[in-house]
């Protein structure tokens, strides 16, 4: 009987739900930490915690619309706190959220290794999209990421595994 329900749930694609307040708090916290942590630890400026939050909620909810909307809101908020034009991070994270939700619909992303590879790939997707939009829309030259970006992507992936394990505590399963 339970298997049948789960099957039905799988058919509905959306497996996990979150308290909307948790989404807001987690997003805010990610943005704030992103702006606050480099003040004390300058090397943490390379981290993109809003990206991790976007990917997590997109993967978990497995709703493309919810994923892209979360990505859009978080990206616009991140744009608002930056000195650049609003919309760059918004469009980038909108696409990443949509892609992560699409990935979450197709594969089980609860496993740590999947999350590790997914975040590692989405970091490059996010960086590539951002650089491309900067080049296309703002006319800036594309700076191809060097070997350092590999380490940063790995750090993001490892940090995402830990963060996702923590956020899994607050999700509700159907």
């Amino acid at each position: 009987m339970k298997v049948a329900v789960r099957m039905r749930s799988d058919l509905r694609v959306e497996v996990h739900r979150f308290n909307p307040l948790l989404v807001i708090v987690a997003s805010l916290f990610a943005i704030i930490i992103q702006g606050y942590l480099p003040m004390w630890f300058p090397t943490t400026a390379a981290l993109d915690l809003p990206l991790l939050v976007t990917v997590y909620f997109a993967l978990s909810r497995r709703s493309q619309i919810a994923g892209l909307l979360i990505g859009a809101v978080i990206g616009l908020a991140q744009d608002s706190l930056s000195h650049g034009p609003i919309g760059m991070f918004g469009m980038t994270k909108t696409i990443v959220g949509y892609a992560a939700s699409s990935l979450g619909v197709r594969i089980d992303t609860d496993h740590a290794s999947v999350r590790l590879l997914a975040v590692f790939g989405f970091y490059y997707v996010h960086t590539g999209l951002f650089l491309m939009l900067q080049h296309v829309l703002l006319g800036k030259a594309i700076q191809i990421p060097g070997p350092r970006s590999l380490a940063v992507a790995m750090v993001h992936a490892i940090l995402a595994v830990v963060l996702f394990q923590f956020l899994d505590r607050f999700r509700k399963d159907y």
């Binding site: 606050y36 619309i65 909307l69 616009l76 608002s80 706190l81 609003i86 919309g87 909108t94």
Partner: protein, 533 residues
């Protein structure tokens, strides 16, 4: 259409979201304008949370670092406490060193001023009993210290050397009941014997009840005990009461006997002048205790013996500025001094002219505490103390250049007034009964203004100072013999050194165990060629 939207809803929403953001971005770039509304909303939402988080983080940070600082502060406090303790000890040590330096400087200044030859010593201990007031010095026979040498400080005398060992010496303090000093009251010039009274006081004895002694009178050494050179400050009279026969005069020593650290041992004492004060002058107790003693007017010339130890300092020179401090003679004694000085200068010129045929004198006016006999004949031509050795009374006052008359060699005191009260002719029985009676008060070297003093006088008249009053004879009464024996280093003396005196001891004989070796000052001044040769 509805189905198409439903089928491609996600993609449509994505495209719509991207399009909106693209339009927003294009608007900003095209118009070169910002979208303040979005920023305001975003900042309005995020910054309060940021403030909250920042405050919390700062609070945690402050608590953590406060705790860390507290721990660090505790460690620093402990370190600082240790440093403060160390610095306190160092400061105390430096203060002690500074105080010691001040004391030593005062001692050196005093040693430079005093004409006596001294050895500096450090007090290393005291007696183990309350009834015995003795000190131990870190110098002994190796440094030339011998028994019965005076121990002094810049403030005043301390005592005398009682026993001497190889590297240490025992000093009998003047407050010990067994100690005694020949004393002289500065204002009234009264003589007496100072004995220890125990505690921190001494008692001046053998001063008649009818004498005027007031608290505040300063007491100096009289030199009669042959231990302490004349003119050293002893103390100040604190009380003077009428007793059964003699006054009961309490004297507080100038020297701080309970906190002595450095002293001077007089290895060769030279008498000094006692600073005379006018009778109606202010109380002498107002004088500073640490004031250096009166400068020597007649420095001795210790030509013999030499320095006992390396750090002894002979003071054959006079203190500059003190010799000529008196512009013109005021008294007969001053005029006699001037005459004597003129004579001395002429004699010095004559010596130089003769190419040193006249040897300088030695031992004149010097109380040889070391009992070292000087070379024979060294007293000839000694530049002896002018104030202590006035010209013979036969010379007219102020007659400079006139050689003073020589005293008769023996048996007569005419022309030798200083010898009269102390060493009367042994054959004259008349003086035997009268001279000792005035000894305690008779100034030893003050010349009478009269031209001559007959033998057997009742004491030479004092030229300037206190009125002369006969002093009752002290308890150790004598049989009328001279009080002191001959000095051993004076070959011209009639009594050879070491021989017991034929006469009975003086009232001050108990002051020195070597009374037989004591020599009257007049004998010191007497030379084969006369007092001035």
């Amino acid at each position: 259409m509805d189905t198409l939207f439903s089928r491609y809803r996600n993609a449509v929403v994505l495209v719509a979201a991207l399009f909106l953001q693209l339009v927003l971005l294009a608007f900003q770039i095209k118009r070169d304008k910002d979208v303040p509304l979005i920023r305001i909303w975003a900042i309005g939402v995020i910054t309060p949370v940021e403030k909250l988080v920042s405050g919390a983080v700062r609070g945690v940070y402050g608590v953590w670092y406060g705790y860390a600082d507290l721990r660090q502060a505790r460690q620093e406090s402990q370190g600082l406490s240790e440093e403060v303790s160390r610095l306190k000890l160092e400061r105390h040590r430096l203060l002690e060193e500074a105080a010691e330096a001040r004391r030593l400087r005062a001692l050196v200044q005093f040693r430079d001023l005093t004409p006596s030859v001294t050895v500096a010593a450090r007090v290393i201990g005291s007696s183990a009993s309350e009834t015995s007031r003795v000190l131990f010095l870190d110098r002994g026979s190796e440094s030339g210290i011998r028994p019965n040498m005076a121990v002094i400080t810049a403030e005043g005398i301390v005592g005398k050397v009682h026993r001497v060992f190889r590297g240490t010496a025992q000093v009998l303090v003047i407050t010990d009941p067994d100690s005694g000093v020949g004393a002289l009251l500065e204002r009234s010039r009264l003589h007496g014997a100072l004995r220890g009274f125990g505690g921190f006081f001494c008692q001046l004895r053998y001063v008649a009840n009818d004498e005027k002694v007031e608290p505040g009178d300063q007491v100096f050494t009289s030199g009669e005990d042959r231990i302490y050179p004349k003119g050293l400050p002893i103390g100040v009279v604190t009380s003077a009461k009428t007793g059964a026969v003699f006054k009961e005069i309490m004297v507080q020593p100038f020297a701080r006997l309970n906190r002595l650290e450095e002293v001077l041992v007089v290895t060769r004492g030279v008498d000094q002048e006692i600073p005379a004060k006018p009778e109606p002058g202010p109380a002498v107790a107002e004088a500073p205790l640490a004031e250096p003693p009166p400068a020597p007017v007649s420095p001795g010339a210790p030509a013999s013996g030499g320095r006992p130890v390396a750090d002894t300092v002979a003071k054959p020179k006079a203190v500059p500025g003190l010799e000529g401090s008196r512009s013109k003679p005021e008294t007969d004694a001053d005029r006699m001094q001037d005459a004597y000085r003129a004579t001395q200068s002429q004699k010095s010129e004559a010596q130089r002219a003769l190419g040193g045929l006249l040897l300088p004198a030695a031992g004149g006016g010097v109380t040889d505490m070391a009992r070292q006999p000087p070379p024979t004949g060294s007293n000839v031509g000694a530049p002896l103390a002018a104030p202590r050795k006035p010209p013979p009374t036969s010379a007219a006052p102020g007659s400079a250049g006139v050689p003073p008359a020589q005293p008769p060699p023996t048996g007569s005191n005419v022309g030798a007034p200083l010898a009269a009260p102390r060493k009367p002719p042994p054959t004259t029985g008349a003086t035997a009964s009268t001279a000792p009676a005035v000894q305690p008060q008779s100034p030893p070297r003050k010349a009478p203004p009269t031209s001559a003093v007959p033998a057997g006088n009742t004491g030479p008249a004092q030229p300037q100072s206190a009125p002369r009053k006969t002093q009752p004879k002290p308890p150790p009464s004598t049989t009328g013999q001279p009080p002191e024996g001959a000095k051993p280093q004076q070959p011209a003396q009639q009594k050879p050194p070491g021989q017991p005196p034929s006469d009975s001891p003086s009232p001050l004989a108990w002051l020195s165990p070597h009374s037989a070796l004591r020599t009257p000052h007049s004998a010191l001044l007497r030379t084969p060629g006369g007092p001035l040769k």
